[in-house]
Symmetry: C2
């Protein structure tokens, strides 16, 4: 069975499209996916990418919103432009890391992105976290406590270091059979590579 | 018949993929294409995009070369990584502008990109220009003289202003039925939009 590592940053916009599509598409291709949360900001800063690809550039930013809406429609995904951008998603990433360790990262990530991108419950907010954990039947106080433990923070830092070592510089990224693919619009290529190389 | 404006900068890397694919794909979809050369640099500078999306970032740059090669293979296009990047393509853009006015822009553009991306004859170089014009049976001294006339320079400036007014910020870009699409990986979406809106 083909394998693929799906690296993602919770604060990334286009990542919604990949998060929403990944499970069904990978299942159809018979690809086993590891959901790998990481922090993009430290990697960007280290590479001199201090600004982000869209926010400082009004014309690119306007395009991004329109493109996201169009691509969601093309993929048949629900979409509602969120009011706030960019979000602060550090705590959510820590919960995602804990969830990855415990085996429920996909469900957590799908739900937290969906609330942000279809109901405008901002990813990274307490409301989003509570609603997501409640929907998954998780004990919020246990999860938030463990997510903020030194051990879990270290795991997220290590994952971020691993992402950096793999040459990642953006989200979503897909790594399979020694190849790196960047962007939701490379998901099809990455899945094909995972199958056949 | 659907119509599409194909805006491109001769110095852009991913633009090769769109230049090489456009004619066959648009013909298949029954879309009439206007080839619209423009200068990306003045637009980038004005928007604060002073660095270009890849050159200053070693990991993104390495990824770009690998991705170009892979995408060319996926599209069934010949590809050879050129030795020099980025090229200086101002004179080539002026010839492209003249060619657009005279109705041979597609043939000129396809050929000059192909020499760069399959034979490593640098786009923008005298060798590339001479070989391209010779292949098309054009009188090089007449073309180069008219390309550098004040009137033709003004046309290229006006095209660049028009691109800016349309909200363009990168190459390749496709404009059809009031929608802007950016990037070779949006060519399929743009052609579909040109057909049905």
């Amino acid at each position: 069975m083909g394998k693929l590592d799906f690296w993602f940053e919770y604060g990334s916009t286009y990542t919604y499209l990949a998060v929403a599509r990944m499970h069904a598409m990978a299942s159809r291709h018979g690809i086993e996916v590891r959901w790998r949360p990481f922090l993009l900001a430290p990697i960007m800063v280290e590479q001199g990418l201090t600004q982000g690809p869209f926010l400082p550039f009004p014309q690119k930013l306007r395009y991004m919103w329109r493109d996201l809406e169009r691509r969601a429609a093309t993929h048949g995904l629900p979409y509602r432009q969120p009011a706030h951008y960019p979000p602060n998603t550090l705590l959510t990433a820590r919960v995602g890391m804990l969830a990855a360790t415990e085996g429920w990262c996909r469900e957590f990530t799908e739900r937290s992105f969906a609330l942000h991108w279809t109901e405008d419950i901002a990813i990274g907010s307490d409301a989003n976290l509570s609603a997501t954990l409640a929907a998954l039947g998780r004990d919020a106080s246990r999860v938030l406590s463990q997510a903020q433990s030194a051990a879990n923070k270290d795991l997220l830092r290590a994952a971020t270091d691993e992402a950096k070592a793999l040459g990642l510089f953006g989200s979503p990224s897909f790594v399979t059979r020694g190849e790196l693919f960047w962007g939701d619009d490379r998901l099809e290529d990455a899945l094909a590579w995972a199958q056949t190389g």
